[in-house]
């Protein structure tokens, strides 16, 4: 019965009501039925000082949200200042000469919708779905927005004045109850928004009305590209999203029926039970609501210092929208994919092999191109495709590839042998290109080298399927070695190595550009120090990760240096003044310290700090090594040399059991390479570091100065 009713329901992407267009994804004010008499929805806000609306630019106080004419301020402002601004009343709120806020005139002032929302007289919701019921009433469904006062915690000091929370409680309402649009943005867009009017809010968190918990709303980039697979629309790809429906207002009025908008007070659903499902064994994981935060910590809303901004910008995870220095590669990949997707049924044997050392942006570039592609599909410019991502290191065995691909295509989890059969069959048969199964499929295989098996059958299959006439499979393989195809069987190499892109390690110019582009607008780094860091990394590996981490570490060190400095200056000395502005930036010294920390091996320090007898033991090995000319010696020989060294230099010689323990300890931290201690007298020992390092570390020792005379 419900099914038949459903069939009659008509879903729309957008609907025009009384000349206003509402579409999926819009935010709207909702009239509250119980709110008593309707106030007219006067939109204009008047100036706090002159009580008049319009007539010149207005500015909003970030604290009391009052509007002010620029010209009504004292002193008047020429332009809207950047950043937060507080009005005179709020600024001096606590001061003695507190200004008297002009009292409200007694005449009834129209309140804006925003004020009414913040006073809980209006509601706001988002439109997730729009439809027409069989009785031609229009309905929508979506989550509510609530204001901080409506949460269990109440308003917290760090909540913004215009902050709202999106609940995870979804309700159905009649379109009738919509007052008009409002604009709920994510914080980043909110910061930039300037002239959207008064109905702007920002929403960073989702609120669970049942558990009274919060979590951040994931931004769209974070959702992986694979989500687009599910193909929410069957049939022809052109135009299902853009369905438009015009409603004559008169016809709509006829059906006007006052339906109650009921904002349900969240009733306790029956106790949340996850016992039915094992949390970790299903591909769709539920029950994670318990993880949400009980409250929004206040420290996340602090304003950041320049250094903190720099650290954030340098994080590996903050990948820029478009990677600098990879323009040519990106273009190549894009044209490859464009061609392949557009080729339709002619798509045959499209394989791309991408190679390059770690941290050269291979994965990041490919994902960026795919994001662009995804966007074009959403805009309807490109045919929809499917996307499967596989990573060789995320599989327990290479054969699991089949299972993963099959699961991604059909959602069914089966063993790899069966999956192989099914995939084989699927890629050889003809599927109508209009069905989801017939869409082109992009298969990204990251860390491809891990899939090499003894008979290389996995790789063979992966690269053979695209050559079948009806598979419409496009394969992109990523690995580190440039000559991987040559190392494989010729029949695989011939298929895989046709089209290749190699990502060369970054030069120091490129690294510099990458770092600068990330630090754009942040005053933290000395220009030279960035160059120094990138030169160092380029000389070692040309790995962007290394360069970014190095700079980030330098920021941390500088931060520490400055905080140490300020704590000493507080104690009385004032020499920090001399440092001036240059000391406030991250300089060469910080980068140098970071390089030292990152590239220096710790063995010298440990050798210098180790116990007296351990040093003599090392010397004894060195001695033995020089005497015999062989790197490897046995414990017995070393122990004899050790006792000899001790007795000639008036040291007390430890017994052999202790010596054995010393040797094993040195072996445990790999200063020595040693066999097991149970070998005792026959245990083989060898220095793990060049003898120069050892003799350098043992020289100039205050505790046992006589070591020096054996080291030249």
């Amino acid at each position: 019965m419900r099914g038949s009713q459903k069939r009659k329901r008509q879903y729309f992407g957008r609907v025009r009501l009384d000349g206003v267009e509402f579409k999926v994804g819009d935010d709207v004010y909702l009239k509250r039925i119980d709110a008593g008499k309707e106030e007219s929805d006067e939109e204009v806000e008047d100036c706090v000082v002159c009580r008049r609306a319009g007539g010149g630019t207005m500015i909003e106080c970030d604290i009391c949200l009052g509007g002010f004419h620029l010209k009504c301020l004292d002193p008047p402002l020429k332009a809207v200042p950047a950043g937060d601004w507080a009005c005179l009343y709020c600024e001096e709120g606590e001061g003695r000469n507190k200004r008297k806020r002009p009292t409200r005139r007694s005449i009834k002032r129209h309140r804006t919708a925003r004020e009414r929302l913040l006073a809980s007289e209006l509601w706001a919701a988002r439109i997730d779905r729009l439809w027409k019921e069989p009785d031609s009433s229009y309905w929508f469904e979506g989550p509510w927005y609530i204001i901080p006062e409506e949460t269990a915690m109440g308003r917290q000091p760090h909540n913004g004045r215009r902050e709202v929370f999106r609940t995870n409680h979804i309700d159905t309402n009649e379109m009738e109850s919509i007052l008009r649009h409002c604009y709920v943005m994510e914080p980043g867009a909110f910061q930039k928004a300037s002239n959207e009017g008064d109905d702007v809010f920002f929403c960073e968190y989702e609120y669970d009305a049942q558990w009274h918990t919060f979590r951040r709303i994931a931004n769209i980039d974070q959702n992986d590209l694979a989500l687009s697979n599910d193909g929410n629309s069957e049939g022809d790809w052109s135009g299902d999203n853009t369905e438009e429906h015009e409603v004559k207002s008169s016809t709509y009025r006829k059906h006007k029926k006052q339906k109650k908008v009921i904002k349900e007070v969240p009733i306790r659903r029956k106790k949340y039970s996850i016992a039915a499902k094992h949390a970790n064994s299903h591909s769709r994981i539920g029950g994670l609501e318990g993880l949400w935060a009980k409250s929004i910590p206040s420290d996340v809303r602090r304003s950041q210092t320049e250094f903190e901004k720099a650290k954030h910008a340098l994080l590996l995870s903050s990948i820029p929208g478009s990677l600098p220095c990879r323009e040519t590669e990106r273009k190549e990949i894009r044209s490859f994919l464009d061609d392949a997707v557009a080729a339709g049924t002619q798509c045959l044997g499209r394989c791309l092999y991408i190679s390059g050392v770690p941290g050269t942006g291979k994965t990041a570039t490919v994902l960026e191109v795919l994001r662009g592609l995804h966007k074009r599909v959403e805009d309807g410019e490109l045919q929809p495709y499917r996307f499967i991502e596989i990573n060789g290191l995320r599989l327990i065995s290479p054969e699991h590839t089949y299972t993963m691909i099959h699961e991604a295509l059909t959602g069914e989890h089966i063993g790899w042998k069966k999956a192989l059969q099914k995939l084989d069959k699927r890629f050889s048969q003809i599927v109508s290109s209009s069905s989801v199964d017939g869409r082109p499929c992009i298969l990204l295989v990251d860390e491809l080298d891990l899939l090499v098996t003894r008979n290389q059958s996995v790789l063979y299959n992966i690269f053979d399927w695209p050559t079948r006439a009806h598979s419409r499979l496009i394969v992109i393989g990523i690995a580190n070695t440039i000559d991987l195809p040559e190392r494989l069987l010729p029949r695989i190499a011939s298929r895989m190595g046709l089209q290749r892109i190699s990502f060369s390690p970054y030069t120091h110019h490129q690294l510099q550009e990458i770092i600068h582009s990330r630090l754009c607008g942040i005053q933290a780094f000395d220009k030279l120090s960035v160059e120094f860091a990138s030169r160092k990394v380029a000389a070692v590996s040309g790995d962007a990760r290394r360069a970014l981490e190095l700079c980030r570490r330098a920021v941390e060190l500088a931060e520490q240096r400055l905080s140490d400095l300020s704590s000493t200056t507080i104690k009385g000395c004032r020499h920090a003044k001399g440092l001036g502005a240059s000391g406030k930036l991250i300089g060469m010294a910080d980068v140098e310290a970071a390089i030292l920390e990152m590239f220096q091996a710790p063995h010298m320090q440990i050798m210098k700090q180790s116990s007296k007898q351990a040093k003599i033991f090392l010397l004894a090995i060195l001695h033995e090594q020089n005497r015999t000319g062989m790197a490897e010696t046995s414990f017995e020989k070393v122990a004899i040399a050790h006792s000899l060294l001790c007795s000639t230099n008036n040291e007390q010689c430890p017994n052999w059991d202790t010596l054995l323990a010393i040797g094993c300890r040195l072996g445990a931290c790999r200063l020595l390479l040693s066999e097991q201690g149970s070998q005792h007298r026959l245990q083989k020992l060898q220095l793990n570091f060049p003898s120069e390092d050892v003799s350098f570390a043992l020289k100039d020792n205050k505790e046992v100065p006589w070591l020096a005379k054996y080291l030249c």
Binding site: D221, A279, G290, L316, E549, R553, I606, Q613, P654, R681
Partner: protein
């Protein structure tokens, strides 16, 4: 008259009780300090700076959401686990509900599959979810990614602690490390990975793409210097004050006596010597703990003699003790083997050794044992690992003919012969006699 006496006696007894209680309390306090991860102020200076750095880095992750990875390296017993535990505890205290810790140990989680399972299990425990034993590696990995993403969105930081990090790095594919480190650089996570290892070259073991993902931030835990150790001892003996007058008096007394003892040349030398063998935080704590165990509850104060006993206790000489304990026959066999080695006989077995032993009999008046008896003694030596089979080949063969190796050196045999009371003098002569010849 009597009454007054009794009152005085009672008071005296009470005072004694009080003192005994004070001694007990002081000892309990010191033991707790030594055993259960002492307070931050009782760390050695190097560990203190490391503690600060680690705390800073993790606070940074919690507040600003910068994911990091870090490696704590240093010789065994230098306070890596101690500092890490303290830091995690401090974080959990100051940011309740905002940190979840997952602990793995390379020795316990022998392969990546079971390590991944353990991660999922600990996460399920922490968040009261139901754990499935049958989940595959991929499912657990997916679960892990989801939980970490969810945690990040709720301002929760995941901290992964990998103890014996080097063992994870020695696995063939390092897929656990790759996946965890890859998670650190994904924008939807707020997590930290902390490796703990006693191998200095732990980061060199990483495969190149795993190494590229690792931040290369290393905290080095160094063994302490002697001065550091003494200043630590001084701080350890500083008992906290409270109102009780007895306690007050006792604690001041205690500290004074202890500092006098620590200043003494003999104690200084003893500690120096003890630390010259091996030096680590663990060892200096151990020494003090042993010394406290020897403390005489009547006097209630530490004395140099206790340090002496403690140091002797902590310098075990297993081989030497075994050698001074073995029977005469076993000694004879060892000496016989030694003589064979001295004559550079390449390979020998029980039969050869027994033949050599027979030559001793020719010389002298010593008791004569049968071959059966000697074989029993021989087996005994094998059990005590004073000798071992040269190789595993010929496993099926008779015991008598399998080649063996001697694991004790001349030096040790000498020491053993000296120390062994039942050793006949002729044996000592015999050892030197024909070797020279």
């Amino acid at each position: 008259m009597d009454l007054i006496d009794e009152a005085a006696a009672a008071e005296h007894r009470q005072q004694e009780d009080c003192e005994a209680a004070a001694v007990d309390a002081a000892l309990a306090l010191l033991r707790r300090r030594l055993l259960c991860g002492s307070a931050a102020t009782l760390l050695l200076p190097n560990s203190q700076t490391n503690r600060r750095k680690l705390l800073e880095a993790l606070t940074n992750t919690i507040i600003q959401g910068c994911s990091t990875s870090m490696l704590l390296i240093g010789p065994r017993g230098c306070g890596k686990s101690l500092v890490l535990d303290q830091v995690l505890e401090a974080l959990q205290k100051s940011y309740p509900e905002r940190v979840s810790v997952v602990r793995l140990n390379g020795l316990l989680h022998a392969n990546d599959r079971c390590a991944m399972k353990e991660i999922a299990k600990q996460m399920c425990m922490e968040h009261a979810l139901t754990f499935s034993k049958g989940a595959s590696f991929e499912e657990n990995l997916h679960f892990l990614t989801c939980v970490v993403r969810e945690c990040a969105r709720s301002h929760r930081t995941m901290i992964f602690v990998l103890d014996e990090f080097d063992l994870f790095a020695q696995r063939s594919k390092q897929s656990l490390l790759y996946n965890l480190l890859d998670l650190m650089q994904s924008s939807s996570s707020q997590a930290a990975l902390i490796g703990v290892s006693s191998r200095l070259d732990a980061d060199q073991l990483l495969e190149k793409r795993v190494r590229s993902r690792f931040s290369h931030c290393k905290l080095l835990f160094l063994p302490p210097s002697t001065d550091d150790i003494f200043s630590l001892y001084d701080r350890l003996f500083l008992l906290p004050v409270n109102q009780c007058s007895h306690w007050q008096k006792f604690s001041e007394d205690f500290k004074e006596k202890a500092s006098v003892v620590l200043q003494q040349g003999s104690v200084k030398q003893l500690v120096d010597e003890f630390m010259s063998m091996e030096v680590s935080g663990q060892r200096c704590v151990d020494l003090l703990f042993r010394a406290l165990c020897e403390l005489n509850p009547q006097s209630g104060h530490i004395s140099p003699a206790q340090f002496k006993v403690a140091s002797a206790n902590l310098t075990p000489q297993p081989k030497l003790e075994i050698l001074t304990d073995v029977s005469v026959l076993e000694l004879c066999l060892l000496v016989a083997m030694y003589r064979l080695e001295a004559r550079e006989v390449e390979s020998y077995n029980f039969n050869t050794v027994f033949k050599e032993y027979k030559r001793l009999e020719e010389h002298n008046t010593c008791d004569v044992y049968s071959k059966q008896c000697a074989l029993r003694a021989f087996e005994h030596l094998l059990e005590r690992e004073l000798i071992v089979f040269k190789d595993s080949s010929g496993l099926g063969n008779m015991l008598e003919v399998r080649p063996i190796k001697l694991l004790v050196s001349r030096h040790e045999i000498d020491k053993g012969l000296e120390g062994n009371i039942s050793c006949p003098t002729i044996l000592r002569q015999w050892r030197t006699h024909e070797t020279i010849k």
